[in-house]
């Protein structure tokens, strides 16, 4: 694998930032500082990281209810993310979107989405824009979705459309083996979701989603295909979420301790550390410095969020439309 030191650092930073963000965010949720439900993606860091390592701000990603990792891999600001989760005016969406709707269009992040499967065609549409403008070599669409989302017809429609129109898209299924409490082997009638790619004459690749290098390689190939005008690819990243479906879920109710520890033994961050140290690519000290910085970033993010103002009350009526002349936005009773 040919990978620059800069990129290695980025991979490590990003994975570790996701991990620490999710831990911190969960802590804050339990303290009552988040305003709604939160879904942690810890355990799954290698996926978003290995994929987004190939993207620029001009590439677009669509995300899910479990979107923090995607946001961070797309270099959104952890301060603004934390502020959004705490419903603050300084959040990415002024506190109006929350954990399940973080977006940053300036970074090519089309938004987390709380309807399972619903963001998939958005990434196809972004790819359509790129191709329409003759820019597919510098702007592709990436749809992230879970194993559960594969049961939504819209994924099928989107994959077919992307191949019919030969669009620069990556379909990235993060198969963390559960949809809420439903095991993937119940809901999906084949072993490897990647095999469904053959229904659309596109390549489908099963990838070890705990190994950021494996993801990086597979995604690199797929991104190259897309930028070359060769159309979409389906990647299935076999992975695992360490926590419950949402903050208050107790995963022990439906999965075994052994299964959990098996996956944790293959932890993406630890595996990465062992490997780069062994290969003399990065030193223990360098890694520690990165971690320290990010640990600190998290403290600052929480600080920033907690000390940020709440949105103005008239935000309730704003941003519904670009323009709308009507008083119905704020009903008479409230005048």
């Amino acid at each position: 694998m040919d990978i620059s030191k800069e990129k290695l650092v980025w991979l490590y930073e990003t994975m570790y930032r996701i991990r620490r963000f999710e831990e911190t965010m969960l802590e804050q949720t339990f303290k009552g500082n988040a305003m709604g439900v939160t879904h942690s993606s810890d355990g799954q860091e290698a996926g978003p990281t290995g994929v987004c390592a190939h993207l620029t701000e001009k590439d677009w990603i669509g995300s899910t209810h479990r979107g923090h990792g995607h946001c961070i891999a797309k270099e959104l600001d952890t301060k603004k993310m934390m502020a959004e989760i705490m419903g603050r005016a300084t959040g990415h969406c002024k506190g109006k979107g929350g954990s399940m709707h973080i977006a940053d269009f300036s970074k090519g992040m089309l938004g987390a989405n709380a309807i399972v499967g619903a963001s998939i065609p958005l990434a196809v549409g972004a790819a359509l824009t790129a191709k329409y403008k003759g820019l597919e070599n510098e702007s592709i669409g990436v749809a992230f979705f879970g194993d559960g989302a594969t049961s939504q017809g819209i994924l099928h429609e989107s994959m077919n459309l992307a191949t019919v129109w030969k669009l620069p898209v990556l379909f990235v299924c993060e198969n963390n083996h559960y949809a809420e409490a439903t095991p993937v082997e119940y809901a999906v009638s084949i072993l490897d979701i990647a095999d469904r790619a053959s229904s659309y004459s596109m390549p489908g690749v099963v990838v070890d989603g705990m190994d950021v290098f494996a993801v990086y390689d597979a995604a690199g190939e797929a991104v190259k295909r897309a930028r070359n005008g060769d159309g979409p690819t389906l990647l299935e990243l076999k992975t695992y979420r360490y926590h419950g479906h949402f903050h208050a879920d107790v995963p022990e109710n439906y999965r075994t301790k052994e299964e959990e520890s098996d996956w944790k033994e293959r932890d993406s961050i630890e595996t990465f550390q062992d490997r780069v140290i062994k290969a003399n690519q990065l030193t223990d000290k360098e890694l520690k410095a990165i971690r320290d910085e990010i640990d600190n970033e998290m403290i600052e993010a929480v600080d920033f969020a907690l000390n940020s103002p709440m949105p103005d009350m008239d935000e309730l009526y704003k941003d519904v439309y670009v323009n709308y002349p009507n008083s119905v936005l704020a009903p008479q009773q409230r005048d």
Binding site: M35, K96, A181, L329
Partner: protein, 357 residues
């Protein structure tokens, strides 16, 4: 004037029977259980209504890891087994369609669509098949299907998990829609829905789910299409539905302290809709305020207003007021979300303004 009897007797046999206080969610669960026991053709379907599908606990029983959103279906799989308590993949259109197909061929499916917002994913099956089959096929068949989902704001779930657009469902010919407002009415309406031969949608506002109220021990059904009085009064009619009925009652009680005597009508059914109770009440109070958490345009609040402006126009002494959510999606931030939803204070202000106080 409110009498003890009136509030004790909200509809039909009422509270004059053995029973106990319980939460809305437990009343819901109990009703499902009773209906499953009553009729072997009744079965349940939905995402994680059990949870851990295909897996078993140490005793060899199917896992009940989730028990449905807000524990609506908790415990059922272990008593009724996975054939009758059917976990589904995330395919709302597909499994609602399959439920309709099973209803067309002799079963009585009860489908959990989880958050009300997800109805849109299965909307075509609901509208084009469930609601229209009987008509298109000229009465050859019926669709004894029950659907349920949780509506409303208040839990910080933001724009895509907080809808209350039951007006869109009430609009659809061929579909029935009910909106229980307490532990008592959910028991009566859910069992009525399951026993009914038409497709019925049962909407549960999330804010009701943990509230407690009196529920008779014996199971019973509330006639679909009947509203009820939660309070008798003479100054103004407050019409509520689902959780806004609770708000109307609250507002009426506070207003009573100031000598303002509100009548509170709880719709219970949106389709069929009890037009008579609306006309009866307004013909007495001559004033109407409709309270609806849904956004205002073409809402149930609009429909109630339109019916009264037509059928009870001569009794009206004042404009018909609607207290509704604004024409916006539901925001995430707690204070904004709270501002989105009607509350009893808004009802009180609207009432006083209407009475020129």
């Amino acid at each position: 004037m409110t009498t003890q009897e009136d509030t004790k007797n909200p509809l039909g046999p009422g509270y004059d029977v053995a029973g106990s206080e319980m939460r809305y969610r437990d009343s819901f669960n109990k009703t499902l259980r009773d209906e499953l026991n009553r009729d072997p053709d009744v079965f349940l379907m939905g995402e994680d209504i059990a949870g851990g599908a295909g897996r078993f606990d140490e005793d060899g029983k199917p896992l009940d890891a989730w028990g449905g959103p807000f524990a609506a279906t908790k415990g059922l799989i272990q008593d009724f087994g996975p054939d009758r308590i059917k976990d589904t993949p995330i395919s709302e259109a597909g499994f609602l369609g399959a439920a309709i197909g099973s209803a067309l061929t002799g079963l009585r499916p009860v489908v959990d669509l989880m958050y009300f917002d997800f109805v849109t994913v299965a909307y075509d099956q609901l509208l084009s098949n469930a609601a229209k089959s009987r008509y298109m096929f000229a009465g050859q068949t019926k669709v004894p299907l029950t659907m349920f989902a949780r509506s409303g704001g208040g839990t910080g779930h933001a724009a895509q998990h907080s809808e209350s657009f039951y007006s869109m469902l009430a609009h659809i010919p061929g579909l029935k829609v009910v909106v229980p407002s307490d532990a008592y009415s959910v028991r009566g309406l859910l069992s009525a829905a399951i026993r009914d031969d038409d497709p019925v949608f049962v909407v549960s506002d999330k804010k009701l789910i943990n509230l407690s109220g009196f529920v008779p021990d014996e199971n019973f059904a509330i006639e679909l299409g009947k509203g009820r009085y939660l309070r008798k009064g003479s100054d103004v009619t407050l019409v509520g539905m689902s959780y806004t009925s609770v708000l109307c009652k609250e507002a009426a009680e506070k207003l009573a302290e100031e000598g303002i005597d509100c009548e509170v009508v709880d719709l219970l059914s949106l389709s069929p809709l009890d037009e008579s109770i609306l006309i009866e009440s307004v013909s007495k109070t001559n004033r109407l305020i409709v309270v609806d958490e849904d956004t205002p345009r073409c809402s149930m609040a609009s429909e109630v207003a339109a019916i009264v402006a037509d059928q009870a126009f001569d009794y009206l002494d004042a404009p018909i007021k609607r207290v509704t959510g604004p024409h916006t999606p539901v925001p995430y931030n707690k204070a904004l979300e709270t501002a989105f939803m009607p509350d009893s204070n808004e009802i009180i202000i609207a009432t006083k303004k209407l009475l020129d106080l």
